[in-house]
Amino acid sequence: MNKHVLLVEDEPNIIEAVSFLLSRDGWSVSTHSNGHDAADVIRAKQPDVLVLDVMLPGRSGFDILEDIRSEGACKDVPVLMLTARGQTKDRERAERLGATRFMTKPFSNAEIIETLHELSGP
């Protein structure tokens, strides 16, 4: 059975490109583009890996990460955080809140695929 990745990102063309890429790589991909209810969607979908953008409309990726790590079904889901700002303090904050990996935009296709394989395990 294919591994399930949930991509929470608000850029439609990034969603389309990454979804295409991951689907061709054998993933089952679902997407969500709003920060407001992202935590509920994540808990409902229970992905094997979560790709979470930091800057989302409605609620920041940091808040969402803190939320899902605090309780519920996705407390331990591997999370790859995406950000357009490569600042050290963002990286430190993500790590403190429980992000598994951190990636700065723009990333390469090979980079994201390789990272997701590492996060999803064998």
Partner: protein, 456 residues
């Protein structure tokens, strides 16, 4: 704020205006002459009845002796002392200090004001960079577009047998994102330009000098027409006065004045029409022309750089050069390599901060004085422009036994046309602007990493 301060100086000034002797005034005020002497030299504070008596003896209002700019000065000095603690015993003597050394006191106040102003500027710029929501939003949006373009273009290039409908969709996305990126970058530039004009960005004296020369196109018709020293002096002063919006710092004003005097002196030695005739006859050959007229090669190079492009272009029609509106670029440096005169070109920028590319023939000239260097170069970067550079270094003073001469080096940057660049079989020598913005990966001259990809 205490206001009895520096009154001593005022008492002394008023007494001298009145033509009164110190002993006479002291007697009228009921004090000894030696005590009045201490008061007049701000060694003793004064107030109350004694101030009224002295004012009466001087025939002035007491207020006129105890108010004024000095009070503000003392207030400012105390504020400075509060920020940079000084010995209490010395703080108590601030009035004496200001009275005895008013020039130094004013200097401290001026420097403190300058420091405060610069600190505010730093805070405001830092705040703008880190917290400006519009800037953050614009950069986030642009990086989003770049990410989408990078991912999509990789899919298009790397995916075998991509279905036509996916191809169409990704091409459409690429077009959308490229448009978004273009609009975003234009908006960002417009925003930053607005900010620049609104906030009067921090500028260096070098920026002010460059802005002044750019306003005049590096050509000064008023200084080309001969005339007496006095006329040249008047013309220079007039130009400086009309540029008070650009030349804010005293340093920039002084440097521009020195450069204009040199310009006038160069024009006297090598007239404009004669120069154009020679360029028409022999081309851009500073060494040949300098020898013919017994001039310094550096002087001839400076004169070449003063010619507007539209006058130079017709004279060089059959040359390998591609002279644009700005004409020929010029960089002049002293023995330390510091650029002392800069005329950048649109495609040959000169670094605003820090040192330039060590591969420039300008710096080779410094190590080979009196050797005229001609080189064909190409600037780093995707559309690196080809240039011919002429460089020459010479001592700035007559030789003396036992003294190592200081050198000044000149370098002309002459844009080459595409056909001109291809004329010679030898490859163009790669050069950059400065390490910080040079993308060339491996370079023997690199002294610091580049902010551009590849230039590490």
């Amino acid at each position: 704020m205490r206001r009895e301060t520096l009154t001593g100086s005022r008492i002394r000034e008023r007494r001298l205006i009145n033509g009164q002797k110190q002993a006479d005034l002291a007697r009228k005020a009921g004090i000894s002459a030696s005590y009045l002497n201490l008061i007049e030299h701000n060694r003793r504070r004064i107030g109350g009845k004694l101030l009224l008596d002295i004012a009466s003896a001087l025939g002035v209002e007491p207020m006129s002796l105890s108010e004024g700019a000095e009070a503000a000065l003392l207030g400012a000095l105390r504020e400075v002392a509060a920020m940079h603690p000084v010995e209490q015993s010395e703080l108590e003597r601030v009035e004496e200090f200001a009275g005895r050394f008013p020039g130094w006191a004013n200097l401290i106040e001026t420097l403190a004001q300058r420091q405060s102003s610069l600190e505010q500027t730093v805070v405001s710029l830092t705040d703008r960079m880190t917290h400006d929501p519009q800037l953050a939003e614009a950069l986030h949006d642009m990086l989003g577009a770049v990410t989408a373009i990078r991912s999509t273009s990789s899919i298009l290039v790397e995916t075998d047998k991509l279905e036509p409908e996916w191809q169409d969709r990704f091409h459409r996305n690429l077009n959308e994102d490229a448009t978004r990126l273009t609009e975003g970058s234009q908006a960002l530039v417009a925003y930053l330009n607005d900010e620049t004009s609104e906030h009067q960005q921090v500028t260096t004296p070098q920026d002010e000098i460059e802005a002044f020369f750019q306003r005049h196109g590096y050509h000064f018709a008023l200084l080309e027409n001969g005339g007496s020293d006095t006329q040249a002096h008047d013309a220079i002063e007039s130009m400086l006065e009309s540029a008070d919006d650009l030349l804010v710092s005293a340093s920039a004003g002084a440097q521009v004045k020195r450069l204009l005097i040199r310009y006038w002196s160069d024009a006297q030695a090598f007239g404009f029409d004669v120069m154009l005739d020679e360029v028409s006859n022999v081309g851009l050959e500073p060494a040949l022309i300098a020898a013919k007229y017994n001039l310094d090669i550096g002087l001839v190079m400076r004169r070449f750089a003063s010619v507007p492009g539209d006058l130079l272009r017709p004279l060089l029609q059959n040359s390998p050069y591609d002279i644009a509106e700005a004409g020929i670029g010029l960089a002049v440096c002293d023995s330390s390599g510091t650029l002392t005169m800069r005329k950048p070109l649109p495609r040959f920028a000169l670094p605003r901060f820090g040192a330039a590319c060590p591969l420039w023939s300008l710096y080779q000239a410094l190590s080979r004085p009196l050797v005229a260097l001609r080189e064909r170069s190409q600037l780093s970067g995707r559309d690196g422009a080809p240039f011919e550079t002429l460089a020459f270094a010479a001592p700035v003073s007559a030789p003396q036994f036992g003294a190592v001469p200081l050198l000044e080096a000149h370098m002309l940057m002459i844009p080459l046309s595409a056909s001109g660049a291809a004329q010679n079989m030898e490859p163009l020598r790669p050069i950059g602007i400065s390490c910080r913005i040079c993308p060339r990966g491996e370079c023997i001259g690199r002294r610091e990493p580049s902010i551009l990809a590849g230039g590490v």
